[in-house]
């Protein structure tokens, strides 16, 4: 599906098939089109091209109230003039479900999100995390075909976010509802999703399982987004064998066996994860450098190592080194990812 606003393309060419019960995350920075995609799915924005099908029905021509998708908004959008219980039962009342059944379902869902005691309060009396849970409860109680979540955790503080991540995952396990989840936080996406869709500038960059996207990003943008903090523009100096090439930048020379779409000599982007760099004096791809800063992060250290005047690498290691000391690093050739140098 595509969505164009006047001259700017907000979203183009998103093609996706989602089996029932899957948890799909739409991931990307602000403005990449993920919220647009979600709003199109919900029916809040019309498509300019393309179609959406639910099983065998075509639904992009159906107004939002008839699509049977539940949605959790970023700002929760709880009805301020209704109590929590009334908020949650809203969708059921619209469906004209019998009173007794409504009560049952609402109580069940209240138990699930652990808000039973607060059922008769007003939204403004609850904290952010509690309001979030009400928003989720309201969306799932109608037992929709699909649950859409638009960055639901972005307004919460760090600790609460991690807690709620677990809760949402648990809920998904228990209820098995198909879920499409929008976020800009790659940690969230990795921990919760069955599959990730990485978006940038309205275009799909990569679709895959969390492991695939994490270990094998398909281009420089995805690598950068997934935490490959060492992103260097280097040159392919020569092809060593069929399966390996050499790239260099200044005094830095690396051998890579992970370079799917690079054919010619020329400029490329090279991505290395900080945790793939090891402190070692033997092994593949030895690099010499000087430690210019060391950040203590509890479990390990993040060292910034200067290789030459223009290049430095970030290394994660459990063993610290003194600032100013010389150090030797090594990285496996198949963990040196090489991509074509395209302008995003």
């Amino acid at each position: 599906m595509s969505r164009t606003y006047d001259k700017s393309v907000a979203l183009s060419g998103l093609t996706l098939e989602i089996p029932k019960g899957e948890f799909v995350a739409l991931l990307g920075p602000s403005g990449c089109g993920k919220s647009t995609a979600l709003n199109c799915l919900a029916g809040l924005i019309p498509l300019t091209a393309g179609s959406i099908h639910l099983d065998d029905r075509r639904i992009d021509t159906v107004p939002p109230e008839k699509r049977d998708f539940g949605m959790v908004f970023q700002n929760y959008a709880l009805f301020p003039h209704l109590t929590i219980r009334e908020n949650i039962s809203f969708g059921l009342k619209i469906k004209k479900i019998e009173k007794k059944e409504i009560q049952n379902r609402v109580n069940k869902v209240l138990e699930l999100v652990q808000l039973r005691e607060h059922a008769d309060k007003s939204p403004h009396e609850l904290s952010g995390g509690q309001q979030q849970r009400v928003a989720i409860a309201r969306a799932i109680v109608i037992e929709p075909e699909v649950v859409l979540m638009d960055e639901p955790l972005s307004n919460l503080d760090a600790k609460l976010r991690i807690e709620m991540r677990g809760e949402i995952k648990k809920l998904h396990k228990e209820l098995g509802l198909t879920t499409i989840y929008v976020t800009h936080d790659q940690e969230e996406a990795l921990s919760m999703a069955d599959r990730l869709v990485v978006l940038h500038g309205g275009k799909v960059q990569q679709i895959g399982t969390p492991q695939e996207v994490y270990l094998n990003p398909i281009n420089a943008f995805v690598a950068d987004f997934m935490g490959y903090r060492n992103l260097l523009t280097m040159e392919v100096s020569k092809q060593l064998t069929v399966g390996s090439i050499e790239v260099n930048l200044g005094s830095l020379k690396l051998v890579s066996t992970n370079f799917s779409s690079v054919s010619n000599l020329g400029k490329v982007k090279v991505a290395i994860r900080p945790d793939n760099l090891e402190l070692s004096t033997s092994g593949e791809n030895l690099i010499q450098g000087k430690v210019i800063s060391a950040e203590y992060q509890g479990r390990e250290y993040a060292l910034e190592v200067e290789v030459d005047s223009k290049t430095s690498l970030i290394v994660r290691t459990a063993i610290s080194s003194q600032v100013g000391s010389n150090i030797s690093l090594s990285v496996a050739a198949n963990r040196v990812l090489v991509f074509p140098d395209s302008n995003d």
Binding site: A42, G43, L44, P63, P64, E65, K66, R67, D68, F69, G70, M71, F73, N75, A77, F79, P80, H81, L82, T83, E86, F90, G91, K93, I94, K95, K96, I97, E98, K99, I102, R138, A139, I142, L148
Partner: protein, 304 residues
């Protein structure tokens, strides 16, 4: 020799100045005094004086003398009826028109500034100018009647002057923009994601309006009605110019002004003002009572 900086925090008895500051009283409050004094002298004092005046009739007929003579005089009694007959319909018309237009404009019109600007004009021109214009416009030979006659809609010119119709029209022209702009600001303060959420839960546009938009607008609607009502209830120049000031447009404000300018009976004038204020408060209180009753009703009684 090394020098060191010592910062000592001593636990001292808090003095009076600090204790006052805790409660928000400090020199800054002095800034209020000039304005407050003006208000006290020229608003609070005269108002209280007016209340006392009303209980002190010119003819020394006792404490409630003015009130009694007001209610005994049927001509005077009728002013209440006349005023209500003008103010209530006008307020109802204004908010009934303002509400749908405001909701529509908020949803579908992106650039509201031109409309707002145009609507501010009748408000700023004031009731006198509008009344003056209507005087010619609604005339049997004025443009309105001309058009209607030419179009064949009526066979005789409408009598819209020298009765309360002209007054009502005048109040609608100057009151509708006010009501609309007010309702627009109330409508705009409703988060649109609430209505989006309702539609994702299955509500069609009529249900969204009935269950979400309208209940959230209700407080604003009540306030707009009250404000409009109070303005209409105290109508004065329009009633004189366009209506029948000694007949069915003999409203409370005219009675009060006449008491001042013709009979020089300030006491009676104050009495009428107070009676007027009393009825206004009565209507305002009723509106809010009604609203709170309706409110609790609607949330409990949705279809199930």
């Amino acid at each position: 020799m090394t020098s060191s900086t010592n910062i000592m925090l001593l636990d001292t008895k808090s003095n009076l100045k600090h204790r006052f500051a805790e409660r928000g009283i400090d020199r800054v409050l002095l800034l209020i005094i000039p304005a407050l004094t003006m208000m006290l002298i020229f608003f609070v004092y005269p108002s209280i004086y007016g209340i006392f005046l009303s209980f002190n009739p010119l003819n020394h007929s006792g404490f409630l003398g003015n009130y009694r003579s007001f209610f005994h005089d049927s001509y005077m009694r009728r002013t209440i009826f006349n005023t209500f007959r003008i103010a209530l319909p006008v307020s109802i018309i204004n908010i009934s028109a303002a509400l749908p237009v405001a909701v529509y404009v908020r949803k579908y019109v992106k650039r509201t500034r031109p409309i707002n600007t145009l609507l501010v004009i009748p408000m700023s021109l004031g009731t006198v100018l509008i009344a003056e214009g209507l005087y010619a416009y609604l005339n049997p030979s004025g443009w309105l009647n001309q058009t209607l006659l030419d179009l064949g809609i009526i066979s005789q010119p409408l009598r819209l002057l020298q009765n309360f119709w002209g007054v009502i029209i005048s109040l609608v022209i100057s009151g509708f923009p006010f009501a609309f702009l007010l309702m627009l600001s109330y409508a705009s303060s409703i988060n649109p994601s609430l209505e989006l959420a309702a539609s994702t839960l299955g509500a069609n546009s009529r249900q969204v309006f009935r269950l979400i938009t309208f209940p959230l607008l209700a407080p604003g609607l009540a306030i707009t009605f009250c404000l409009n009502f109070v303005l209409a209830f105290s109508v004065f120049p329009s009633a004189e110019l366009l209506g029948n000031p000694s007949g069915d447009s003999h409203v409370l404000a005219i009675a009060a002004a006449d008491a001042v300018t013709q009979k020089f009976d300030y006491s009676m004038a104050s009495t009428i003002s107070i009676i007027s204020a009393f009825f206004e408060l009565f209507v305002i209180a009723s509106v809010f009572l009604l609203r709170s009753k309706l409110y609790s009703g609607s949330t409990a009684g949705t279809k199930g």
